[in-house]
């Protein structure tokens, strides 16, 4: 789902929960009732939410694989090029192309490329960067509160029904918030 929207102001209906289980159940209820979950904000990773929100498995692993493979090929090629083509030096009579001796460096570069690229991809995809203004819906999110955010999309949002479902599912507090994007 894209966060992008042409509207500059997003209006949210927030349901605050103090219990992981109730919050996950509420997400399921809301989705069953036809509401799109904008996002859920939690103090820690709640595994069962992936299924409840219907999130797809992250594709970061593909990035790791491609980056690692690139690192492996580049480092092997570079070592071959320096030792065999550019300037070969006789070291203890060993062959110029000592492929086995090139493995440790290639291994390290594979891991380095894989790790750094995956982290970079994560930052880009999750839009995390220094000095970013936090969308603080409630400071208690980083403490002990779970917040379900429903976006009030013009026209199609049945606020009364949503409110009712949040209350029925055990929200300890319900709030409204406008965020300028």
């Amino acid at each position: 789902m894209s966060h992008n929207n042409f509207a500059r102001v997003k209006d949210f209906l927030l349901g605050l929960y103090d219990d992981e289980q109730r919050m996950v159940a509420a997400v399921k209820t809301l989705r069953a009732a036809g509401f799109a979950i904008y996002d859920v904000y939690t103090p820690y990773a709640v595994h069962s939410l992936d299924g409840a929100m219907g999130l797809k498995r992250s594709r970061l692993g593909i990035v790791t694989f491609i980056a690692g493979l690139t690192g492996l090929i580049l480092s092997l090629t570079f070592q071959f090029w320096t030792n065999v083509i550019d300037w070969h030096v006789n070291i203890g009579g060993k062959p110029d192309n000592s492929t086995l001796a090139f493995i440790p460096v290639s291994f390290e570069i594979t891991i380095l490329f894989g790790a750094l690229t995956t982290v970079a991809a994560f930052f880009v995809r999750s839009r995390l960067f220094p000095k970013k203004e936090t969308l603080v819906l409630d400071p208690a999110i980083t403490d002990d509160r779970f917040v379900i955010a429903l976006q009030k999309v013009d026209g199609s949002f049945n606020e009364k029904k949503a409110h009712g479902l949040l209350v029925a599912s055990g929200a300890v507090h319900i709030a409204e918030k406008s965020v300028i994007t």
């Binding site: 992981e20 289980q21 820690y44 990773a45 992936d50 440790p104 891991i111």
Partner: protein
Amino acid sequence: MLRPALIDGNVTLKELTDDINRPLNTKPGVAWTIGFLVALAALLLGVSLVAYQIKVGIGTWGLNKTIGWAFDITNFVFWVGIGHAGTLISAILLLFRQKWRTSINRSAEAMTIFAVMCAAIFPLIHMGRPWLAFWVFPYPNTRGSLWVNFRSPLLWDVFAISTYFTVSLVFWYIGMIPDLATVRDRATGKIKKTIYGFLSLGWDGSHRTWSRYEALCLILAGLATPLVVSVHTIVSMDFATSVIPGWHTTIFPPYFVVGAVFSGFAMVTTLLVITRKVMHLEKYITIGHLEAIAKVILVTGSIVGLAYMTELFTAWYSGNYYEQFAFKNRIVGPYGWTYAIMVFCNVITPQFLWFKKMRTTPALLFVLSIIVNIGMWFERFVIIMTSLSRDFLPSSWSLYKPTFVEVGTFIGTFGLFFTCFLLFVRVLPVVAMWEVKSLVGHHKEEDSHES
């Protein structure tokens, strides 16, 4: 079998946040201040001695023509080894879904980073002209380009250690982002708010991010696991690929990796026994945690003992005169006393951990961990020194004694290590709050199922 509760008592998420945030927003206590001043003094000693030896030269060390590697490489292997426990706890135990790691992984990873920093100092200063240290990297240069020797294990070390440091640092920081956001939302004062705000990258607890974040952590753990094994394997190859009796053995990679984990867990024990007491974290870093660490020490210590015996057996069974001499010399030669210390500290001492009383008494564990730390330092000294001092040619036999400069530099690295660690416990959340919270949250869930 069910494990006992991973944290003591019924802690709510809020209490957890407050307990871990408290040291970041209060003035340090007396114990911390004294510790910090002592560490800083040691660091200053180290800095001034490093400056001195760079100015005067490596001649200030006790090295000679026969023994060209001694204190520096011993300390290097010692510190790199210590680092391994942090990665083991944060990466390997994550892959094995060992939940007890969550209370201690943050501090163990911090230990890794500081230990690798200490380790890196030794090869750097041994270069004599450390400002030319960038020559170890293959970059186009005006000397040819004359490339570095990719066949040398010493160069492999350069890549292994720098990759290890980079990936550990990134992994540590990534693991901290959600907690930095927690600290940001509770920080008092504008400067603190700005710094933690900058570092937490606008983390808002979105589950869409959490979902990817968990995938990222698993991937990084999957990468760090082979990495940590490769690092000490390559360190061992610094020795194993040479033709020196006592070094030229295929047992070295696993022997070094296990030794590294052994010494690292001992250092984790040393640090945590103090940290949990001084920072009042007994609720989160429980006796159960210490016991689990103690069990790892017992297992790895026994494997280390087995490796010592295997080496002796192989030397005898090989029928090789030089190999047999190297090991006889190791035990009864001029450095025999260091071998005795090594066996006492690394083989005999950990066996006391078969007793539950030993595993669950912090004071006893602390003493034991110090003994193991000493023993593992001596192990590296024994390997390096006994083989070098008695080589193939008796006329070149020699002995080595460290100078004040070398000992002082080593003390200086302890200063660096503890200065960094003490600063860490004051400015960063010392327990991975979000990870422990997920345990508390799920725990609560289980309780409600029962009722």
